[in-house]
Symmetry: C2
Subunit: 156 residues, 2 copies
């Protein structure tokens, strides 16, 4: 059945970044909608940010286009040039390879909710302006490195 039963979506609440960056996404819930329908070419998440939570560290992707559409609440879109407030019906797109890091932060007093769509590239690298961190993904998996190429230590 192509209609997606949202209650069957896997909801991810745990952050993925290494210490000391992980807490930036505390208060974020991602429901992976596209996976319920078996989509593989792009991901679709219904993401909720509690007050104070961020979508991610400020980042940009080398190979994956991204798009977000705000459904509820108010979000600050933070980029190189500053902040833009987004509300319901507002949307933004982040073309692969454009080195303007972006991040959504819920600076309001109530939850915000948005759809996020991103291509799934088998090989990818993400950059985090101002932070000594790089994400790499390839056939061996996903890993976080320092800009020197040194791996982050395993967390205790």
């Amino acid at each position: 059945m192509p209609k997606i039963d949202i209650s069957k979506a896997v909801v991810r609440m745990k952050g993925v970044y290494p210490h000391p960056h992980r807490s930036v996404t505390d208060g974020r819930e991602k429901a992976a909608l596209g996976n319920v329908a078996g989509l593989t070419q792009f991901g679709v998440n219904l993401t909720r940010l509690k007050p104070g939570a961020a979508s991610a560290l400020r980042h940009w992707h080398e190979r994956e286009d991204e798009f977000i559409y705000v459904l509820e609440g108010e979000l600050a879109l933070i980029e190189d040039d500053g902040e833009t407030v987004l509300g319901p019906g507002d949307c933004a797109g982040f073309k692969a390879g454009v080195s303007n890091g972006h991040q959504l932060v819920n600076k309001s007093q109530r939850d915000a909710c948005y759809l996020e769509i991103g291509t799934r590239a088998p090989i990818e690298r993400a950059h985090y302006p101002g932070i000594d961190l790089v994400m790499e993904r390839d056939e061996q998996g996903t890993r976080f490195l320092r800009m020197s190429g040194e791996p982050y230590p395993q967390e205790l």
Copy 2:
């Protein structure tokens, strides 16, 4: 600026199917949001259907994943197995290569609006169950054919 100025999106109102199928999308308006941000890997349209309008002929794609999220109004999702009513917050996904044709029809008395996302495959073929029609796209462009491979005649 990654925030998308929706007023700058190209709005397509004209149908693309050959006669006698073109009128199925009369009353459909597609605003190409993703293009405003320069996205190329997938398309994002904000699509409005007036009462009686359909999203497309009932179809399925060989190579492109599709996803829709209803923002406003009520839509009938028509597939091989029948109809499912979708309202705001409902969504559906159509995995590439699954031969279950789908179509959204606004059978209500007021406008309906949804986001549609689809991968952009350079080479593609779409099938239209029950209709003698095939769409082909490759480096030479997009064309509609009969199932025999014979091209549809140019419209007068």
